[in-house]
Symmetry: none
Subunit: 210 residues, 4 copies
DNA sequence: GATGAATGAGTTTTCATTCAT
DNA sequence: AATGAATGAAAACTCATTCAT
């Protein structure tokens, strides 16, 4: 018989994770000290350690939660979209408007840092790889759908295209996140969309005329 | 009247920088401790501080040196190339064969980390921005050349295209550097080249029909 | 909702300051290392840094506390004294018996070192000057009182006399603190009292006449 | 058969000591690093260690040299003075005009610091005491002369008076050296002279009468 | 469950001294 | 004799984690 309800605990957990995201995003994972999270969350150091075993676990949980939420979101949005092309376009739209959600903006920085951090810790590599594959698979599925429906060129390797898609996204986000020039980012993202889709889609009625 | 020659000192400096690169690349900048560099270089802690004022300065000098070398290299290679298209292709070739030079591979990781690190230190932002602009300008110049010669579509904004070029490069390198799958990287890079050049070049006798 | 009472913290603070005084007095400020204070106080290094931001802050707080206590003490003692002459005599008495309080003895050494230290740190000069002026003003007030009541020669400049008073005190303390010959110190101090008071007081019924 | 003349070596030694005085005076003994002396003297670190075994030895030699010079000076000046009163007045005059010689000003700071430093090093205490006694004896001799000639009160203890003389001097110098207010210092010193001499001299035809 | 004081290993940097040239 | 590069033992300070209350 727990003293507090499960919801209470869940809420507190999330509260900590939100503060952690803010701090990690602003100062970086290594530079963030637990006291930063204490200050931002107004939750005591001891309490934080009641919910998470270590700073690293906070990091890991944070990334997992964000990733899960991203896929939930996508699932929901895509449910109503019928073609691969629409789904891809929706994804591009997502990052075009993303700068409005400061939240996601922060997440990106933290993701990229995690990329660095995780690639150096043997024990995190599998987590990193799993997360990466989840993203890859997500696009692979769309590409395959598109190839079946004839929207997307059959000669392309879905795995390869998916990897390129994420490389494009991450490269652009990398620049944007750290240089912060929103207008340029948006223009670049538009151009990238055009370039990517025209490369990937079948010529018939190619380009943009939705 | 120094006791050792300027070359000796230069060599030692480079020796330290090489060890630093190795350490920074393996463990990350923050996680690398001076003793790691001491151990790797076999140079005493005090001696290292005779050559560099701080760990951060080692980092900065390292990046500067690498960047300078990159541009020197490029300058030299491009001197013999007559068209914008050839220059771009040469750049793609460069990163395609890059994995052979382990050295450059390391530098990339460190560059990306610097991106994160620098974007959070007010005093480093200008260095970061200057470095970024140097890279941007380099491609802008090539694009403009190509537009004048008719190789490259005139309606494209050179700045924007340059940014996209580097986003492609960085995104791909980001994935490769941390996932380390060489074969996939090379294939992706080939595809990216095709995508990019076909987007950028004028259709007449368009880029790749090997 | 602190886990410990304010008194507990105050006590701990004082405990650290006392150890610091002991160490600074024995070895000097610069030569004292934090581990000396750790050893003497039996408080961990980290805990010390929970109470004070730096070694220098310990020094500053220590001096401030001692100075405050000195003036509190004086205020109390002087409350019952009605004439300027009595107040001056009381001050002389204070340092005559001072050697009995080992505590004050230590403080003096540390004060003098602070004089040296502070005079070389731009940012400490104002603290030093403020402290000095507080001492000067204290005697100035007494001198003026005495001049009004007729006890003290009207032609003397209170500021100048006050400065001389403290020069006498500091000079004597300097010698005593470092040579440690108590008997000689006490005799010198008696002589100084006689010299000073006979110079300062109006002849009529002057306290000391040879 | 030495390679260089004794004079050359002596000159170099003095050069180092002069630089050391400057540095010690400006930054303090502990805060001065050998490289400060190297920079100021333009003599290499190795060479400095050829002339002195350690930083401490430089300090000690410096103090010794300065003390010796002081007494040589005094001897010379006093040779032409016939009475104890004149000799004392001459001493007062010396410190009154001293601020003009920046050199001596520096020495004072260093002396005071040495007082602190020396009193904490068992092995330096005897050096300190010897130096102190040399100063004490110097005044004792003058006082005794004055007592014999009738200039100075016979009932005074020469040792005690000598100690007080130096306490006055050191106290005043302490304040001046670190607060640096020249005008105030000079006025105080005048007043101290008046106070001291009127206390010490026989009333008949006393030097200073207000 | 919550609190925040305490811990101490770990980190960067300094600097007196040495010694090969 | 002179040089200055090299050494490495300190020293101040940090911060993830623990644990008594």
């Amino acid at each position: 018989m727990p003293k507090v309800s499960a919801e209470y605990k869940e809420e507190k957990r999330n509260h900590i994770l939100e503060s952690a995201l803010k701090c990690f995003s602003e100062k970086g994972y290594q530079a963030t000290i637990i006291d930063d999270i204490v200050k931002d969350s107004n939750i005591s150091k001891g309490a934080i350690y009641n919910y998470f075993a270590s700073k690293e676990e906070i990091y890991l949980q944070l990334l997992k939660k964000r990733t899960d939420e991203f896929f939930e979101d996508m699932e929901q949005e895509n449910a109503s979209l019928t073609s691969a092309g629409k789904k891809l376009e929706n994804l591009f739209k997502r990052w075009k408007k993303q700068e409005l959600k400061e939240d996601d903006q922060q997440t990106m920085r933290v993701y990229i840092e995690f990329w660095l951090y995780g690639s150096r810790q043997e024990d995190l590599k599998s987590i990193l790889a799993a997360r990466y594959n989840r993203f890859i698979d997500y696009i692979v599925k769309i590409i395959k759908e598109g190839q079946e429906s004839g929207e997307i060129k059959k000669e392309l390797d879905p795995q390869n295209i998916s990897r390129i898609f994420w490389a494009l996204r991450d490269g652009n986000v990398l620049h944007y996140s750290f240089l912060g020039e929103e207008e340029q980012y948006r223009i670049a993202w538009d151009t990238i969309e055009e370039m990517f889709l025209s490369y990937v889609k079948n010529e018939i009625k190619s380009g943009h005329q939705d």
